[in-house]
């Protein structure tokens, strides 16, 4: 990993942490709101990067796994308020397990196809879950629902505030550490090797399919955890979280930051969130500028931001 990549990653974490005193001193709660969104999206992008980046599989339905995490929180808050099930300690592992399981199942089916067909089928599965969320009349259907009981953490909870913010940043750090451990392990090495030459990997005795399903599970679990945090962050859960455009946004973050690199998703999420913020302040038609701008960056620098900062080894 290049020095510049490490420095930028460290700088971003310093900024994320320094934002707490800065926001308190300068009375800028919006700063924390924005940066927390950044941290949560980066966590989901770290998850997607396992599949889209390291494993080299064009998966474009990962917003659904974020949605599973969010709806887990929303449904438990509605159905079982005041119980153990609104505790973050229960919701986080539960959401991770659910999203991981669904991701593994979707992966197992999608992985029967390749290339564009794979992309389309992951997109289709994402849409299926989106419409499933729309169909949940009891939970607001199309309109979604307000989170009536944020995830509890001891005496406090994961709604707004410094604790919630700090936890989102800590979760991002943990996600990056998990990604780091997974991808330099034999398992991760197989995933990367199969992306480089799948037929050869089979021919040395590795049943590639299983490893990719494993990558989907880990990827989905991280997205599910991000979904729990996101539901608390916005205090609102709706099918919009699962929209295919969200999946594309996550993929753009990964590609923009540097697919298949450890910190790429962090860089991509930061660039995405900050650009969106700046551009939307300048013009309300920011999307018209944003889309082509992203396209340009991805075309001009196929290795993304991490690639621009220097050759990055895989660990």
């Amino acid at each position: 990993m290049s020095r510049a990549v490490l420095l930028l990653a460290a700088a971003l974490f310093v900024v994320l942490l320094a934002a707490v005193p800065a926001a308190l001193l300068l009375d800028l709660p919006y700063l924390l709101f924005l940066f927390q969104q950044l941290a949560i999206l980066a966590t989901a992008a770290v998850g997607l990067n396992l599949v889209l980046g390291y494993a080299g599989l064009p998966a474009f339905g990962h917003a659904a796994f974020v949605g599973i995490g969010s709806y887990t929180v929303g449904i438990l808050a509605t159905e079982l308020p005041g119980t153990l099930f609104t505790s973050a300690w229960v919701q986080l592992p539960l959401a991770a397990a659910l999203a991981g399981l669904v991701a593994a199942l979707i992966g197992a089916v999608s992985l029967r196809t390749r290339g564009v067909a794979f992309l389309m089928i992951t997109l289709a599965f994402g849409q299926m879950l989106y419409f499933a969320a729309v169909a949940l009349e009891r939970y607001g259907g199309d309109d979604g629902m307000i989170l009536v009981a944020p995830s509890r953490l001891g005496e406090q909870n994961l709604s707004r505030g410094v604790l919630s913010y700090t936890i989102s940043v800590a979760v991002l750090a943990v996600a990056l550490y998990v990604s780091f451990r997974l991808m330099r392990s034999p398992f991760g090495t197989v995933l990367r090797g199969a992306a480089a030459n799948e037929r050869r990997m089979q021919a040395v005795g590795v049943a590639v399919h299983r490893y990719r399903i494993g990558a989907f599970a880990a990827s989905g679990a991280l997205c599910g955890i991000a979904g729990v945090l996101l539901a608390n962050h916005t205090a609102f859960i709706s099918p919009a979280t699962l929209a295919w455009t969200r999946s594309v946004e996550l993929a753009v973050m990964v590609l923009l930051g540097g697919a298949g690199t450890l910190f790429g998703p962090l860089f991509g999420a930061a660039a995405f969130v900050l650009l969106e913020e700046v551009l939307s302040g300048v013009t309300e038609h920011w999307r018209i500028v944003f889309g082509p701008l992203l396209l340009l960056v991805v075309l001009a620098a196929p290795g993304g931001i991490a690639g621009l900062l220097g050759r990055q080894s895989n660990d």
Partner: protein
């Protein structure tokens, strides 16, 4: 089959294929091929381009699903087994068009097969190490193929000749009983080709080899038995001398190469 099979049946064949058939639309790439490989044998498969040699190897390896026929390895039917399962039972192959892991060092290229054999590829938390016993095994393989000095180099930047050597090293990393080599001399210069023949000779024996090759000098230097494939069918099979002497063979194929 015209050439007389003079090689005595010394032992149960390691690998037996019966009636292997593969069609691509109207084209019959393999038309009911019977083929076997005995322990310690180098069995060359020759024939003109498009004869069906690569298709045969692909079916033996499990990469191409036969339309008909059966394959047995050490007496067990493996026709329905997927590629990785066949590998764990002792099959390995090299490819006509070089197929290595670009972006990985030479050492890492060999480590994949070593880990698969040790069944440690699913470990997901501890770092993948290339030292210790695995490193020694890798170094031994790289020494064997003549890539010792290159273990830290990205496979993508190796010369073509070195990549052909790595191709063999990757196949050896799975500790095969049976090795399928698809034109190992393809694209090699004279000296490199000679070294490749020496390399194949040095691994032959404990590992039985199916050798697909166009270079007739290499074939006659290495083969214990030769099968000739033309238009997907075996037109001759037997000892090298018998194949060399066969008049139909001379006109059908060898004429152009000898």
């Amino acid at each position: 089959m015209r050439a007389v099979d003079k090689a005595a049946v010394l032992a149960e064949p390691l690998l037996v294929a019966r009636g292997l058939t593969k069609r691509y639309g109207g084209l019959v790439a393999n038309a009911g091929i019977d083929f076997d490989l005995r322990p310690r044998e180098v069995h060359a498969v020759i024939g003109p381009n498009g004869g069906g040699k690569t298709t045969l190897l692909g079916q033996l390896m499990g990469e191409i699903e036969p339309d008909a026929g059966t394959i047995a390895l050490t007496g067990a039917d493996i026709t329905a087994l997927a590629v990785p399962e066949r590998v764990l039972r002792g099959l390995a192959r090299s490819y006509q068009v070089t197929s290595v892991f670009p972006g990985f060092t030479v050492l890492e290229n060999v480590a994949f097969g070593l880990r698969a054999r040790r069944r440690t590829t699913s470990r997901f938390w501890r770092a993948a190490r290339t030292g210790g016993e695995l490193g020694e095994a890798a170094a031994a393989i790289l020494r064997r193929v003549g890539l010792s000095g290159r273990s830290g180099v990205d496979a993508a930047v190796l010369s073509h000749g070195e990549q052909r050597q790595l191709e063999i090293a990757i196949a050896l990393s799975t500790t095969p009983k049976v090795l399928l080599l698809d034109e190992p001399l393809a694209g090699l210069g004279v000296d490199e080709g000679r070294r490749m023949v020496d390399l194949i000779a040095s691994i032959a024996g404990p590992i039985a080899i199916v050798l697909v090759e166009h270079d007739m000098d290499a074939v006659f230097a290495l083969a214990d038995r030769i099968t000739v494939l033309v238009d997907g069918a075996v037109i001759a099979s037997g000892a090298p001398d018998a194949i060399r002497a066969d008049p139909l063979m001379r006109s059908a194929y060898l004429g152009e190469d000898l």
